[in-house]
């Protein structure tokens, strides 16, 4: 359609008829204790530190429960438990037996899937539709996938013998608490390592529920140790001399600190850091599916996604039509109670994160840039942000350069494919990228030229345990998932 058609375009009404009644998932089946201790050596243990902290539900600011804060001594205890389990049990166990433990864990999570999903939504603010349909099923899939590897590692690396590293220290972000824990635990255990894992301070609950499940699975004590705490706890793990490997997912800033901290040691490390992905839409794209991909790309998990498609690059000839369609689609996104099955966008995970997002937005507004926000009634309590478009910005704007980690999409235009690629790569990050075109050869060309570890062509934000994930440049080092995700947990010997 030509630009002239826009004058006759009428708008669609989404808000005034047939609002869906709330359909909340009941938290009644959820069993949570008032207080959780540290999971070390197969049992819950009081923290030596004596300290506890609260974890909040970001959708109503209510305290869910209290969680122990592991100090240096606690971390040391956990590492010693992991070392002992590695030396005495896990490294001696045949691969097929390790695999059976992982299969068992996968099954047990499957049995309790809904409980995990509800807790995940309570603790993070993410909509139940996502925790139920994405997070938890992917967690299960990750354990199933890696379970099968445990006795097949000799086939993964031709010409080499694979040996585990020993004790892995794993630091988990708050955006996908259980999923990221699974991404780290499953390959570590399948390859024969034991581990000390630290969930994010603001979303520790599903990992602690997993600890209970691990007890039920009869995993040998000390193979998995779960220590909750702050960034300091994480730092104790990173600095612990008996940890052989660090796996971190989180911000590029913290990732750099970790890389610096392990300098001069023999610790191996993998880093899965930030991103500022371009989602490129060419004029010949299937436009309605592109719109859907844009929405999935930036509004999935409130935009708290390292690989979010936060920079929309649109070919100039279709910009008006695409943005119009995108706005229509955004109007149908339901923002609200994370436990409501109809919620598309839940709560922003924390107050600091909300303030950070608002900071970017107010800067944009102060600079006189247009922003578009959907009509959405927000609850009084809790942390919320409507889906937002920022139009007419350029590479020089801070909101285009920095990772916002919220439901904020910037819109830029381009004229030619090479300009699109140049814009896409004009960033220190390189985690992911999207491109939309109906032309096969263009997909391969543009896909090759995007400097990023994951390229979604005519789709976005798809994940699978068989599919390696990780970044170029400042988006990280190493891969998680697939054969390539095993390598960071192994030493290859001739």
């Amino acid at each position: 359609m030509s630009q002239n058609d826009l004058s006759t375009r009428s708008s669609l009404r989404f808000h005034d008829l047939w609002a869906y009644d709330s359909a909340p998932e009941s938290p009644e089946m959820v069993r949570l204790k008032d207080r959780y201790d540290l999971f070390i050596g197969g049992s819950f243990q009081l923290p030596e530190s004596g300290k506890y902290f609260n974890t909040l539900n970001p959708s109503n600011e209510v305290v869910i429960c209290e969680v122990a804060e592991a100090g240096t001594k606690d971390v040391d205890k956990a590492v010693r438990a992991a070392r002992k389990a590695y030396d005495q049990v896990w490294s001696k166990l045949p691969g097929k037996e390790r695999g059976k433990y992982l299969f068992r864990i996968a099954r047990l999570i499957q049995d309790r899937a809904r409980e995990f999903a509800i807790i995940e939504s309570m603790d993070t603010g993410k909509p139940i539709r996502e925790s139920r349909d994405v997070d938890i099923p992917q967690v299960i899939a990750h354990f199933f996938y890696h379970a099968g590897w445990a006795d097949k590692l000799e086939y993964a690396f031709p010409g080499r013998k694979a040996r585990p590293l020993g004790v892995a220290g794993q630091l988990i972000p708050w955006n996908f608490p259980l999923l990221m824990a699974a991404w780290k635990m499953a390959p570590a255990l399948a390859t024969g390592n034991t581990l000390v894992i630290k969930p994010a301070g603001s979303s520790p609950l599903t990992a602690l529920k997993l600890a209970e499940l691990i007890q039920d699975a009869d995993l040998p004590p000390g193979v998995v140790n779960i220590v909750t705490g702050s960034e300091k706890t994480g730092s104790s793990i990173v600095h612990h001399p008996d940890v052989d490997k660090i796996a971190f997912t989180g911000s590029t800033d913290v990732g750099k600190k970790i890389q610096n901290a392990v300098a001069g040691t023999d610790k191996k490390y993998t880093l899965e850091l930030g991103g500022k992905a371009a989602n490129i839409v060419f004029a010949d794209a299937a436009m309605d599916q592109a719109v859907e991909g844009i929405v999935n790309g930036i509004f999935f998990n409130q935009g708290h996604v390292c690989c979010a498609g936060s920079r929309l690059l649109v070919q100039e000839s279709i910009t008006d039509e695409l943005v119009q369609k995108l706005k229509n689609r955004m109007e149908t996104l339901i923002v609200g109670n994370p436990l409501d099955k109809n919620t598309d966008i839940g709560a922003i995970h924390s107050k600091p994160q909300l303030e950070k997002i608002r900071g970017y937005l107010s800067e944009v507004v102060e600079n006189g840039q247009q922003i578009y926000q959907t009509q959405c009634a927000l609850p009084d309590k809790g942390y919320w942000c409507c889906p937002t478009l920022v139009e007419n910005v350029s590479q020089s704007h801070r909101i285009v350069q920095e990772e916002v980690f919220g439901p904020i999409l910037t819109v830029q235009t381009f004229r030619t494919p090479s300009e699109a690629v140049t814009l896409a790569n004009n960033t220190p990050y390189g985690l992911s990228g999207g491109l939309w075109t109906d032309k096969g050869s263009k997909i391969f060309n543009v896909g090759k030229n995007i400097r990023a570890g994951v390229v979604w062509a005519n789709t976005y934000n798809k994940f699978d345990p068989t599919s390696p994930f990780g970044g170029y440049k400042e988006s990280g080092i190493g891969r998680e998932g697939g054969i390539h995700g095993l390598l960071p947990y192994l030493e290859l010997l001739k």
Binding site: M1, A286, Q324, N458
Partner: protein
């Protein structure tokens, strides 16, 4: 005026890309909507009002068609609060009978025509059939496009025949059946939708019900998006009728979710959306009564159409 309209007709040799997996993913997301309480009752009643209660069999005796008409008139004797369906849909030689029973009831009479379901006859005889059905009292004509011409790439033929039927069926409204099961790809569905609308269709309809697959949510979404783009382009609202295979209330609600979130509230009316169905009616009724009474229902308590 005529000239201005013609200039807006797209080049149907150009294909608008549609990605199948993307469409199916979108549809899967509509299916996750959970419709409860008041919003459920509203939607169940709305769906009921959107049904074209259909019988299109070689064995449609007058007695069978009469039975259908009475079901349309009295869907649920036990509850007077329950709305009626939008229309009955029959073969041309049963239109007169329906008209006699349903005149002045507000229930419309739709007739298939144009050598339904294959469309394999001369243009003249197909036009003749349309005129016959309209003369017998049909308010709506459900025509079939010539899939053979479409698949051969003769889009002009398809366009012209629709335009001719549109002219011949006045004052009845024209529903154009694409028979999406035979078009196979979503891009074909999109193109056939565009051809139909630009040639004058008042409704576009998925299927005859004689071919598998009949209506699917994915195909319907592609058609709804075509309707939306056509509306943006011309300002004219075209209706949508998925037909065949929609048998239960839950599926119907998913269709309505999709309708609302694609075209907005203005399309949530029997004027612009119909279900071509028969057994759907009783499932909708059973769900409505269940919502009212709290008891799950048995088909023994609901009359057959």
């Amino acid at each position: 005026m005529q000239d201005r309209f013609l200039r807006k007709i797209p080049d149907f040799d150009q294909t608008i890309p549609v990605d199948q997996v993307g469409v199916d993913d979108r549809v899967a997301r509509f299916r996750t909507r959970s419709i409860k309480m008041e919003s459920k009752i509203f939607a169940l009643k709305l769906a009921l009002q959107m049904v074209d209660l259909t019988t299109l069999e070689g064995m449609d005796t007058p007695a069978k068609v009469r039975q259908l008409c009475y079901k349309a008139l009295y869907p649920c004797k036990t509850d007077s609060d329950i709305p009626r369906v939008a229309a009955v849909c029959v073969y041309p030689n049963r239109v007169r009978l329906c008209k006699d029973i349903l005149k002045n009831t507000g229930i419309k009479i739709a007739s298939v025509a144009t050598s339904f379901p294959g469309g394999m006859n001369t243009l003249e005889s197909r036009i003749e059939e349309v005129r016959y059905a309209v003369n017998e009292g049909a308010d709506e004509i459900d025509m079939v496009i010539s899939r053979w011409a479409f698949l051969k790439g003769d889009y002009k033929y398809v366009f012209d025949e629709i335009a001719v039927f549109k002219n011949a069926c006045k004052p009845a409204r024209l529903k154009v059946i694409l028979e999406t099961g035979e078009l196979e790809t979503y891009e074909n569905v999109r193109k056939a939708s565009d051809i139909s609308m630009y040639a004058g269709a008042d409704f576009i309809k998925t299927s005859t019900g004689k071919i598998t697959p009949a209506a699917t949510m994915s195909v319907t979404l592609v058609m709804l998006e075509a309707i939306r783009d056509y509306y943006f382009h011309t300002g004219r609202k075209v209706g949508m009728k998925p037909a065949g295979g929609i048998r239960n209330a839950k599926t119907a609600l998913h269709y309505l979710v999709m309708l609302k979130e694609t075209l907005g509230a203005e399309w949530l009316t029997p004027e612009l959306f119909r279900f071509g169905a028969s057994s759907l009616v009783n499932d909708l009724l059973m769900q409505i009564i269940k919502e009212k009474t709290g008891s799950y229902q048995s088909s023994d308590y609901f009359s057959i159409g």
